[in-house]
Symmetry: C2
Subunit: 204 residues, 2 copies
């Protein structure tokens, strides 16, 4: 298997953190997204959406989408400990929070970044700063809800670290580029973020 990687972008990082947590190493093919390498045939022929990361199996079949890649790597290379949950309820809880974090928080942070940051003007057409600004309060509303949820839990899905925590870490780190400050009073979110950032995998 080999992984076409996208460097610092959030979705490639999700998979690298997942691999670090599981102790998985793969052949890595670096792709320079700054030079639009993901729009060249090397990637476009493998993923019509021209996004990274992309996993290619030894038989040539391709898997895209970060969560699908993580699920496949876990199942085929390193099932335990599962980062998707160890029983039906835990799996539902992990999926619930991974989706909440992705659809309601990561998406809002990404929209604020892509529609406001000058460097994104050529990537996001039309770039609509008003839409970017509208997403900042959405992200903050979510963080306030999340802070109440985290008051009695070490991790977002409960007692065990999961892929939902990785989604949260990547999205929280992404707030800097989007110029969204996590309010000081959200002490549970800040504690959670600090704990995740201190893990060895966060360097990936």
């Amino acid at each position: 298997m080999k992984l076409f990687d996208g460097g610092r972008a959030p979705n490639p990082r999700r998979v690298r953190i997942f691999m670090a947590e599981k102790g998985i190493t793969l052949d890595i093919v670096p792709v320079d997204m700054g030079a639009l390498g993901h729009r060249q045939p090397e990637i476009a022929d493998r993923n019509p959406l021209r996004r990274l990361p992309v996993l290619e199996l030894d038989d040539g079949r391709v898997i895209t989408e970060s969560v699908a890649i993580c699920r496949y790597l876990e199942e085929t290379l390193a099932p335990e400990p599962s980062l998707f949950g160890n029983d039906a309820f835990a799996r539902a809880r992990v999926e619930e929070w991974n989706r909440r974090l992705e659809l309601n928080f990561y998406a809002a942070v990404a929209a604020a970044f892509r529609h406001i940051h000058p460097a994104m003007a050529e990537w996001e057409v039309p770039q609509l700063p008003e839409w970017g600004e509208a997403n900042k309060p959405k992200a903050l509303d979510f963080l306030r809800m999340l802070d109440a949820h985290l008051v009695d839990k070490p991790f977002v899905a409960g007692e065990a670290f999961s892929i939902a925590d990785i989604t949260g870490l990547v999205a929280l780190d992404f707030t800097k580029l989007a110029k969204i400050a996590v309010p000081e009073e959200l002490t549970n979110v800040r504690r959670w973020h600090a704990d995740l950032a201190a893990r060895e995998s966060a360097k990936a």
Copy 2:
């Protein structure tokens, strides 16, 4: 278990179609979203995001998010045939297409509806018609890519019907409200949509 249902809205419908495909029946608690029933304590106390559907287990625990609910119902009530895939590669493929359809198509259709339709002005604040319009070509670009993918497949993830097809059906039906017409020349998408709409489960 009981399911707090949201009527005609797309996410509640996803779960009802899934249940119909699996032959699962549950106690249903209807919630009138038109009367903002999902913002009342009955739902808000169970889901801080105040969205539907919501599954409540007999022990009082709650699962939200349509895909998390479907995964839990499949695993606990009706494992076979799996609508999430029968082996590691199939599960990755289903997740890949469910995500592609949700993040790149359903999201674009929903944005076009919520930011343009007059009935959504009080739901989507600020309502930004320019952002709604910007999503129509995104949805159409995705459908063109999807049409090429479907040329040699009965279902979006391959030979077997899956939850990704349900996401596709619900999103395609949603295009009417968003006033996005599926181009005549996308014959594979139109065939796929017609086949899914003809299934008994589509009435759910």
